[in-house]
Subunit: 208 residues, 2 copies
């Protein structure tokens, strides 16, 4: 009859316990200084069990941090340009931003990530894959020549990435979430203005 499974509840519980233990230890002593054996022991499971729940040490931190730009492009409304769709999405994200998700957990994660070169490398790797998917989506959206889509995807991904970085950098500097969210709103407009009209186009105080 399979009635909501007690097994599955325990599994989820164990999974959360492992992830939380790991994040706490990483924050206390640094990602690289904590071994997965310690995490497993502190969480009360065996190393093998830990790796049954998480495929790698990195995934203990990076579980579900994606930002699927390709899906946004693919799912845009008829007649809307890819750039407009992305602009609308990130404008909306910035507006929601402040109160929506739990800032504390997120900020903890970001703190752990930015403190570890290994995790940063992994994040970057994920972004590369995302960029390739976006390039494919753009090529679908505007079937012109290849290199243009790749160049656009690269620049868009770079801009979005930088928005995230600047946002979290502000938060880590102690800027209160509401103000950081407001600045993010401004940065989104700046970023898409740069994307649309170029680095030497507008009023963003650049000489010659």
């Amino acid at each position: 009859m399979m009635m909501a499974g007690l097994r599955e509840r325990k599994k989820e519980q164990t999974r959360r316990r492992i992830a939380e233990t790991a994040l706490r230890l990483f924050d206390e002593r640094g990602y690289d200084a904590v071994t997965v054996n310690e995490v497993a022991e502190a969480a009360g499971v065996a190393k093998v069990t830990l790796f049954a729940y998480f495929p790698s040490k990195e995934s203990l931190v990076l579980d579900g941090i994606k930002d699927d730009t390709a899906a946004i492009v693919d799912g845009r409304e008829e007649g809307q340009s890819p750039l407009d769709a992305l602009h609308a999405h990130y404008r909306e994200t910035a507006r929601r931003g402040s109160g929506a998700i739990d800032m504390d957990g997120l900020l903890l994660r970001v703190r752990v990530i930015t403190a570890s070169p290994a995790l940063l490398a992994s994040v970057h790797q994920a972004r590369m894959e995302q960029r390739h998917e976006l390039a494919a989506a753009l090529a679908r959206a505007l079937p012109g020549r290849g290199p243009a889509a790749q160049l656009m995807a690269a620049q868009i991904t770079a801009a979005v990435t930088t928005l995230q970085e600047v946002f979290f950098w502000r938060l880590s500097q102690g800027v209160p979430p509401e103000e950081a969210a407001r600045s993010l709103g401004e940065d989104v407009e700046l970023a898409f203005d740069l994307l649309r009209h170029g680095l030497e186009g507008g009023n963003h105080e650049k000489g010659h």
Copy 2:
């Protein structure tokens, strides 16, 4: 009297032997499937010795593949904008391109790299560092607000990266080097046009 060092010659020779052996094995059987022990053995040295010459397995392939955009910006002529300096540099690179360096060795390296997720991740990591340096250089060059410099650095790095990728992709598809170099020249102009005037500015056939 130190007469040109026989020691140093032997060292260089050993170093080359290790690197060439590694590249050959990686190309034959794949980077991940070859252990450094095998490389060391095939090159006739001990594992420890290999790591005395190269700091990591990756560096056997990625030795000296950087592309220092920050230095180009810092070393530009008086009155020249950062973007112009970079544009001139890559235009020149594309012109020289074809005959200058040994395409075969380079192409072999690129083939090995693109076939290995681990190496790709490492390349990407290096680019991230390069991007941060470029952001610092841009902030020095045009002391405006912070986020703009970071956004510009991100977009420029993304464009340059994509130029390389498209170039090597063409080569790997069998396009003859001279033609690939010519296409690279065109792509350089396209990329900097996009950078200067934006993704929806010019004549690069984008509809919406």
